[in-house]
């Protein structure tokens, strides 16, 4: 399964398959739950953080968080 941190280009058809890591709870609370559709919007100037869209809002993640989100492509 690719990690969210491996995605480098904008993509609108991602789906969260698994969330782990020390920030698990806060990521779930922010709505990044397994099965949720996310869009990869862009990378910041130095590659990280990245900007994604989840449940209708935009959020930035560092590599340390994106490493712990597994995604697949759907539809």
């Amino acid at each position: 399964m690719p990690k969210l941190s491996d995605i480098l280009t904008p993509a609108e058809n991602l789906r969260v398959t698994r969330v782990t890591g020390p920030a698990l709870n806060r990521m779930l609370e922010m709505g990044i739950t397994p099965g949720t559709a996310i869009d990869f919007i862009r990378q910041a100037p130095l590659g990280f953080p990245i900007e994604i869209k989840v449940r209708g809002f935009l959020v930035a993640l560092r590599k340390s968080e994106a490493d712990h989100i597994e995604v697949d492509h759907h539809g």
Binding site: A23, R26, M27, L28, A44, P45, F48, R55, L58, R62
Partner: protein
């Protein structure tokens, strides 16, 4: 009904909560400030027949499991664990209608608290523009709490909310309205029968919440021993057998409930494609355009600070001079007169003169924050800031540092990670604050040639710019070193919302300026009064002989004596005892150096006339060697010293307050002053070796 009701106003960040708070309470606000506690909460008041409703504006929070200092304060207030106060009588949860899914998450947590609750849906207009139709009545029926839908800028709608508040239109639906899944409920039941229900200390309304806490938080488990611990471990194992863990199971069940609710109360696209925000972001967060835009905005802000503030600063200066003269004439001659006029008023005036610059800076910061741009600046800068141990959100406090370190250090509160926050505080005083400006201006205009260096740049202008840059570079270097040597503060999740762009309400900007300006006056002012009285004693005693000039008196005073005592220590930097006195007196505030030098050189005209002071300094000759006291090299050494040394009592005091210990201000004072000494030494001695 009670005659005094405390109502907490809670909600996610960027929900229009502050706009609503201002609309509800108008100018009847006060900023709470409790000793030893670092975050301030605001309270506002709403009166109705016989009852005063205190509305407590909590810092924005995403969940009741706090990850930042701000969130912790909000959580403490809601759960009644905030020091010296009971839980609130009622809660208003503000939810953004354009982002209902995530906002409802906090709503489900707050209704679990078992307090009388009301939900206010804000930004209904914006939701409608996105073709999202929300039925507040249906939401009210599902949640079991009153729901008021409004736009915070619509007075009539805000009045309706006021009526709902004064009528006590709250409801207590009881915990677990979100109906935990069968598996989670089993684990909760196991805890309740085996442990919680027999514990009288836990009231019935909190029993389910306590079960969830024991399931989700390892710290809660670690606090238990023996049989109690065994029951919790069993309950956790029940979940693990089903492939779940306590906290994840709870969050997922809440979101399942929210998804269900939204199907009945919401129509239209849940996730509208491409908003205006995303279009703007394509430029603002672009890899190249983004940083360039940020630099452009910074330049614009500085230009405004320095060109707009002038007349207001003159006005404040004039005000203080007039007031001082009046006091000098009115108070009986003698010590009290001198203490008030030369000590307190001079010190206070020296700091308050920067208020216009600080207000202008806050004006821009309020706009940048209110529009949602500041989060973009943090996004663009975070990659670089992380490398040097800070956070994208450090950019804003560091920017504030160019006006004054005191509000800058207070603005670090939004940074979740304590290590990143601490590093930001520790390097922030390197930002060239307004108090350094008069010192830079005096020394540069006196000793740096005004010739053109190249194009239309003069050496003087370049030196000015160089000093700013020098401060920034030293901050980056110091931050990198702190990053290496400070212990980590554990992992803090980096999840930064990039809110939709909004046009900020002008009243909000004014409120924010006023509030932060007042904090500056209060925090810096009270320190300055104490320090300037202390320095007045040093500079006024022992009292001079009759007929002595004020310069001779100062030379004789304790300050003068200290200046002479430390002369051998500062001589290698190129400073004589006169500058030594200046270094001592400028500890109240850096710009005091200018006034002290004026006194030492007995400048006739009113103290701070830079032109005549400049000439006096230029012609001063060392009586032993016959060499001029001030050379270009001395001036550069002194500039570097002022750029780096920690000479601000107010900053140290605020760092003490924010870190709750004397350790960090002590380290700050030590390392900055040592660094200043070292760098001035290297520059002066190196310069002499090279024959300057």
């Amino acid at each position: 009904m009670k005659t005094y009701q405390r109502i907490a106003l809670a909600g996610n960040p960027n929900t229009g909560k502050t706009t609503l708070f201002n609309a509800l309470t108008g100018l009847r606000q006060r900023v709470g400030n409790y000793p030893g506690i670092t975050v301030e909460r605001k309270s506002g008041f709403l009166k109705s027949a016989g009852t005063t409703h205190e509305i407590i504006d909590l810092p924005g929070l995403y969940s009741l499991n706090p990850t930042s200092k701000d969130e912790e304060i909000a959580w403490q207030t809601l759960t009644g664990t905030y020091p010296f106060e009971p839980e609130p009588d009622a809660v208003i949860v503000v939810a953004d209608a354009t982002n209902l899914m995530r906002n409802l998450y906090l709503v489900t947590q707050i209704t679990d608290l078992g307090l009388p609750t009301m939900v206010v849906l804000t930004m209904m207009d914006a939701a409608r523009e996105q073709d999202r139709l929300i039925n507040p009545q249906a939401l009210q029926d599902t949640l079991g709490v009153p729901v008021v839908a409004l736009n915070a800028r619509n007075d009539a709608e805000v009045d309706q909310l006021k009526d709902a508040i004064t009528a006590g239109n709250f409801a207590t639906p009881g915990p677990l309205q979100w109906k935990p899944s069968v598996k989670l409920q089993k684990a909760i039941n196991h805890l309740r029968t085996g442990l919680i229900d027999s514990n009288d200390a836990i009231p019935e309304r909190a029993a389910d919440l306590e079960s969830l806490r024991l399931l989700a938080q390892d710290a809660a488990l670690d606090a238990l021993t023996g049989d109690a611990r065994a029951v919790v471990v069993e309950a956790r194992q029940m979940l693990e057998k089903e492939g779940l863990n306590g906290s994840a199971a709870e969050v997922l069940d809440r979101y399942n409930y929210i998804d269900e609710i939204l199907q009945t109360v919401c129509a239209g696209p849940v996730d509208p494609r491409k908003s205006i925000t995303e279009t703007i972001d394509r430029v603002v967060t672009h890899r190249i355009a983004g940083p360039a835009l940020f630099m452009g905005i910074l330049l614009l802000v500085f230009q405004a600070i320095f060109s707009w503030a002038g007349p207001f600063m003159d006005l404040i200066d004039l005000g203080f001079i007039t007031a001082s003269n009046w006091l000098a004439d009115t108070l009986p001659d003698g010590l009290l007169n001198s203490l008030v006029v030369d000590g307190v008023m001079a010190g206070l005036g020296g700091v308050m003169i920067f208020l216009p610059q600080i207000l202008i800076l806050f004006f821009f910061i309020a706009i940048l924050e209110g529009t949602g741009y500041m989060a973009r600046a943090a996004f663009v800068m975070d990659g670089f800031m992380m490398k040097i141990g800070m956070h994208g959100k450090s950019v804003l406090p560091l920017m504030s540092g160019f006006a004054c370190a005191v509000p800058g250090i207070m603005a670090t509160r939004g940074i979740e990670n304590y290590k990143e926050r601490l590093i930001t505080m520790m390097v922030l005083p390197f930002m060239a604050c307004s108090a350094r400006l008069p010192v830079y201006a005096l020394l540069i205009s006196a000793f740096v040639p005004g010739d053109t260096a190249f194009l239309f740049f003069t050496w003087q202008g370049l030196t000015f710019f160089g000093l700013y840059l020098f401060g920034i570079v030293m901050a980056a270097v110091a931050a990198t070193i702190f990053k290496k040597f400070l212990p980590g503060a554990g992992h803090t999740p980096f999840l930064m919302e990039l809110p939709t762009y909004k046009i900020p309400a002008f009243s909000n900007i004014l409120y924010q300026m006023g509030e932060r300006g007042w904090i500056f006056i209060k925090e810096a002012g009270k320190i300055i009064i104490v320090v300037s009285m202390g320095l007045w004693v040093l500079a006024s005693f022992p009292a001079g002989e009759p007929g002595m000039s004020s310069a001779e008196q100062l030379e004789n005073s304790y300050a003068g004596q200290i200046g002479k005592v430390i002369e051998p220590a500062i001589e290698p930097l190129g400073f004589d005892w006169k500058i030594g006195i200046g270094l001592i007196t400028s500890f109240a505030a850096r710009e005091v150096l200018v006034a002290t030098m004026s006194t030492i050189y007995s400048v006739q005209s009113d103290d701070e006339d830079i032109t005549s002071l400049r000439e006096m300094m230029l012609s001063d000759v060392n009586p032993e060697t016959g060499e001029p006291v001030f050379t270009l090299l001395t001036a550069i050494s002194l500039l570097i010293f002022f750029a780096l040394a920690m000479q601000c009592m107010s900053t140290l005091a605020i760092v003490k307050r924010e870190t709750n210990s004397w350790k960090w201000p002590a380290i700050m004072f030590g390392y900055m002053t040592a660094l200043a000494y070292f760098m001035s030494f290297v520059v002066y001695q190196g310069g002499k070796l090279l024959g300057f």
